[in-house]
């Protein structure tokens, strides 16, 4: 299977199943489109290029095919079945340190921290039991990941510190290393928290939506006040104190800022070098929801952002945009690429009272309650359902060129829109495909010293 597209003056050909990516000239681009269906003679009759050009391109295409870099088949289905049948270990927990929040973001899937339940803070006892559960269920896995999530985890920061300290005390004894992540809205961020995070947190995720007017509208405080001025100076200082590494400023865009490239560039202009901006996920009736009609504008924004990133990179002012990050020569193995996100098996969420769910987005959905950190997993049948979920169990992924980049998409989104984890949230797929195209185009442009556009 191949996928061909033109973007920013580049002719790009993805050989979907080998992962090979080629930038080709116009003749070769058109020859590739006809190669499998027609003979050389028929192609020569159909295309208006010279016979010599077509023959030369045809020869190069044939050579790529013989090298296994073009027109390869998908040979991984049985392999993924075998990988998925292996015993899995738990390697990451999302700890809901606080089901409470000091902001009232309009799009919050956690319902301002309450997750269809009630306000509650995790106790140190539950947090420590969660780490014990993780260690006990992690097999030989050395690096264990723990995300302090909410609600807003800094509302319960004493417990965060206690749990981190407890985790460090377990490391040597069990030959484990904890990688902690803190996600915060910044309201309570102070020097003490920053200092602690810089010492102990492998990653911090700083929630901010971009331009002041966008951020203030979508992320007000509980009493309706703006929050941008409250958090932005601290985030700038925090990112600098981490030497612009191992953090993300992470925003959400909605139908209110479909011109979200401006929000990304606003963050870049403030000096942030690690930026993520995710499309909101919401049912169509929500006032902020992204609709199918919005896609053309969103695609244009991704194109605009990609071109600007190339320009800035070449000027020595580059930054990372999470969804355009792509490693074409390294990157994950094919097992990782096709076997799904790991929710319900490798990655679990823990509520403030210790209940286990397949991931943070399923918290509060009682039918997905797996067990708790004290007694372990009781509903292994649910875990098995998540374990079996992968690219090949999703019909929509079968012919999608992006399936090796999204691993079949988010099961929670699939469940929320279709009532099953084996489907896909279509708008998200459309945007993912566009982002993959842009990410590859950026690589093509940066590999091409002559290729700068106006």
């Amino acid at each position: 299977m191949i996928h061909q597209y033109k973007n920013n003056g580049y002719n790009i050909v993805m050989d979907v199943c080998s992962g090979a990516i080629h930038v080709v000239d116009d003749v070769t681009y058109d020859v590739i489109a006809l190669y499998e269906e027609k003979s050389l003679e028929e192609i020569e009759n159909e295309l208006s290029y010279s016979k010599e050009d077509i023959e030369e391109a045809y020869k190069e295409v044939t050579s790529l095919k013989e090298e296994g870099l073009l027109f390869t088949e998908d040979i991984y289905e049985d392999y993924i079945k075998e990988v998925k049948s292996r015993k899995t270990v738990v390697k990451a927990l999302c700890l809901h340190i606080a089901h409470d929040c000091n902001l009232a973001c309009r799009y919050c899937f956690a319902e301002e921290g309450e997750y269809k339940g009630h306000r509650e803070l995790m106790s140190a006892k539950v947090g420590k039991a969660a780490l014990d559960f993780l260690v006990a269920n992690s097999g030989n896995r050395h690096n264990l990941e723990v995300d302090f999530f909410g609600g807003e985890p800094t509302m319960n920061f004493g417990v965060v510190k206690e749990v981190v300290e407890y985790g460090r005390s377990l490391e040597e004894k069990h030959n484990k290393h904890f990688r902690f992540t803190l996600t915060t809205n910044g309201v309570l961020l102070n020097d003490e928290i920053m200092e602690f995070a810089n010492k102990e947190m492998d990653n911090v995720v700083l929630s901010v939506d971009g331009r002041k007017e966008i951020h203030d509208y979508m992320r007000p405080t509980r009493n309706g006040k703006p929050s941008y001025d409250l958090i932005m100076p601290k985030f700038i200082r925090f990112a600098e104190s981490r030497h612009q590494q191992k953090y993300y400023v992470r925003g959400t865009f909605t139908n209110r800022n479909l011109d979200f490239s401006k929000d990304v560039l606003h963050l870049a202009d403030l000096g942030f070098e690690q930026i993520s901006m995710e499309p909101v996920v919401g049912q169509p009736e929500e006032p902020y929801a992204i609709q199918e009609k919005d896609l053309p504008q969103i695609f244009d924004e991704y194109d605009r952002l990609a071109k600007e990133m190339i320009k800035r990179e070449k000027a020595g002012k580059g930054f990372n945009f999470f969804h355009f990050m792509i490693d074409l020569t390294g990157g994950p193995c094919v097992a990782k690429r096709l076997s799904g996100c790991g929710s319900g098996t490798e990655y679990l969420a823990v509520t403030p009272w210790g209940d286990l769910y397949p991931c943070h987005q399923f918290v509060g959905e009682e039918k997905f309650l797996l067990g708790n950190v004290f007694d372990g997993i009781k509903r292994t049948d649910i875990c098995d359902e998540f374990r079996s979920c992968n690219v090949y169990t999703k019909k929509k992924c079968k012919d999608c060129f992006a399936r090796f980049y999204c691993s079949g998409g988010c099961p929670a989104n699939s469940y929320n829109f279709h009532g099953t984890i084996d489907d896909s949230y279509d708008l998200s797929c459309d945007m993912e495909r566009k982002r993959v195209e842009c990410a590859i185009m950026i690589k093509a442009a940066l590999a091409d010293t002559e290729g700068e556009e106006e």
Partner: protein, 48 residues
């Protein structure tokens, strides 16, 4: 090649089957996702 520039070198997905699936890598939502699923930008722990 004159008309083709391959950005990915000779490494293909197939070459990762042999030693792949060790599971030491980060889970996708542990980075900055939380509402989507992106694995193409993850790094391989054994390549570090």
């Amino acid at each position: 090649m004159k008309r083709v520039k391959t950005l990915t070198g000779n490494k293909t997905y197939g070459t990762t089957m042999c030693k792949g699936g060790c599971g030491e890598c980060q889970t996708s939502c542990q980075s900055a996702c939380k509402t989507s699923c992106t694995v193409g930008n993850q790094t391989c722990e054994s390549n570090k």
